[in-house]
């Protein structure tokens, strides 16, 4: 999704094929992620924080200045009516807001890359670090969201100008308003930094998940050298799949909403797995898959809002019912004591006390 976003942005600005941008970006990420570990990833992400936040302000103010200032933009949007400046429009919530909000929450809870960061941070620093991470994420959206109002003010046409992909609005405006080159380059840096910071964490997560959950269980006696090589291969494979998704031509909003449905199906079973010792692999898997299937059918028949409610409801009820029949409990102290996560026994091995 991040690779698609970055490819779309850069391709829209410079008129390049998205596949070319996606391929170059993937190679760059794979190259630099092959060096250093989690500590290096965090250090790089800290720099990217600067490269996203500061240029966002300069791009937004330059765009506003280019189109006559904030007052002109606000008056023009206001004059178009339709409560375009209101946050209480129900259609925005139903069509996009609900699923997207759930997806953002789930992305943080379910994203393996965030768990890696969580394991890497000292316990006493953990809470505030994630709160500030969320807070700083909001302000970038609040800042660049103003550029969206400029698009409304200029009556940018979704089909004609953006090829049906609303996410192309930002790069379309930045590249078509006659702004100086430095503004365009700053925007590209914002997009690439956001893409790289997420993709490198995700690829690192793919690497660790493939090692712990796939390769080591299949080949317990594998040497460290071979394991290292296979985890690197898993990253290349994941990057290749991402490029293939970009090349498929799917639009970003559909991709975001599609992955949001999947993430919504994971949300409750995952939270239950963390807080409820009765949960086991069967309850988690069944809850996620049945919730997803029910949600996709509801989405196709009743639309975004009902589809999302269905996913959340089914993926809540199913694991609870299955877990209630489970007579065994997971012993969380195993996680604290474990030296190798791949050697933790199955949850069902711990009897209910």
């Amino acid at each position: 999704m991040n690779l698609k976003g970055a490819s779309l942005m850069v391709a829209t600005i410079f008129g390049l094929p998205e596949g070319v941008v996606a391929t170059i970006s993937s190679i760059v990420i794979l190259l630099y992620i092959s060096l250093g570990g989690l500590w290096a990833s965090m250090a790089t992400s800290t720099l990217m924080c600067l490269l996203i936040m500061v240029p966002s302000v300069l791009v937004t103010t330059a765009v506003l200045g280019q189109v006559g200032g904030a007052e002109a933009v606000w008056q023009t949007v206001q004059s178009q009516g339709g409560e375009l400046l209101s946050v209480t429009r129900p259609d925005a919530f139903q069509n996009f807001g609900l699923t997207f909000a759930l997806a953002l929450i789930t992305a943080t809870i379910a994203g393996q890359e965030f768990w890696q960061v969580a394991w890497g941070i000292k316990e006493r620093e953990l809470g505030k670090t994630f709160f500030w991470g969320g807070g700083l994420y909001y302000v970038v959206a609040l800042c660049l969201g103003v550029v969206g109002l400029v698009g409304i003010a200029l009556k940018v046409d979704l089909a004609r100008d953006l090829g049906g992909d609303p996410a192309a609005l930002g790069p379309f405006l930045v590249s078509h308003l006659g702004l100086p080159d430095w503004v365009i380059y700053l925007f590209v840096i914002i997009v690439l930094s956001a893409c790289y910071s997420t993709c490198d964490g995700t690829l690192a997560a793919v690497s660790s998940v493939s090692a712990v959950d796939v390769i080591k269980p299949l080949f317990p006696a594998i040497s460290d050298r071979s394991l290292f090589a296979w985890t690197r291969f898993s990253m290349v494979l994941a990057a290749g799949i991402s490029v293939a998704v970009v090349l498929s031509g799917i639009d970003l909003v559909t991709l975001v909403l599609g992955t949001s449905i999947i993430r919504a199906a994971v949300l409750v079973p995952l939270v239950l797995s963390i807080v409820w010792s009765r949960m086991n692999a069967t309850a988690f898997t069944a809850g996620t898959i049945i919730g997803l299937i029910a949600g996709v059918f509801a989405l196709a028949k009743f639309g975004e809002e009902i589809g999302t409610y269905t996913v959340v409801a089914v993926s809540t009820i199913v694991p609870i019912v299955i877990a209630l029949t489970n007579s065994r409990r997971f012993d969380y102290t195993q996680l604290r004591q474990a030296q190798d996560l791949s050697e933790i026994p199955d949850t069902s091995s711990v009897a209910l006390r």
């Binding site: 506003l64 189109v67 006559g68 709160f131 302000v139 969201g145 006659g178 365009i184 930094s193």
Partner: protein, 171 residues
């Protein structure tokens, strides 16, 4: 390249290599994309002036923040490598640090609620549109503050070690 790496402390070389690849890759992508000129609107856009006073003021503040941010990153990485393995035993019972953590935590809650209010305020008047960019511009102060706190902590660790070593040498 190797001679350049020799100038960097060994513990920072991997990080420097990684950062070099990231910056090099970003520059490569930008220059490659720059080989193709940006597209232009078929009709003339509503052109004013991107170098408005707001942009210039934002640019000056951004430059100052960038300097402090990079300085903080450099010092944190340097001190972190210098105190690697030493800090754990020095961290307990820091009341002042605990108060700072509480302040940051409550501040984060306030920030999240504030963000919701900011987006609501966009509908109240054009001046409110600048709140988002202002808060975003001030956002990097959070990591700068956090890095400064870490630097103070690392300095304390180093000072304690120096005192400990000097006291041992007396005996």
């Amino acid at each position: 390249m190797n001679s350049l790496l020799q100038m960097i402390p060994p513990s920072l070389r991997t990080w420097a290599k990684r950062l070099g690849y990231f910056l090099g890759g970003t520059m490569l992508t930008v220059f490659y994309a720059g080989a193709v000129p940006a597209q232009s609107l078929p009709s003339r856009p509503l052109t004013q002036n991107p170098y408005s006073p707001t942009t210039i003021i934002a640019g000056v503040i951004a430059a100052i923040i960038t300097i402090f941010f990079l300085r903080g990153m450099y010092l944190v990485l340097t001190y972190a490598s210098a105190t690697y393995g030493l800090e754990e035993e020095e961290e307990e019972g820091n009341l002042e640090g605990g108060q700072e953590n509480h302040a940051l935590l409550y501040g984060a809650f306030g920030w999240i609620i504030g963000s919701a209010l900011i987006i609501t305020s966009y509908g109240f008047g054009w001046r409110f549109l600048y709140i988002g960019p202002i808060v975003c511009l001030l956002g990097p102060l959070v990591p700068i503050f956090a890095m400064n706190r870490d630097i103070q902590k690392y300095r304390q660790v180093l000072a304690r070690r120096a005192r400990y070593q000097s006291s041992r040498s007396l005996y």
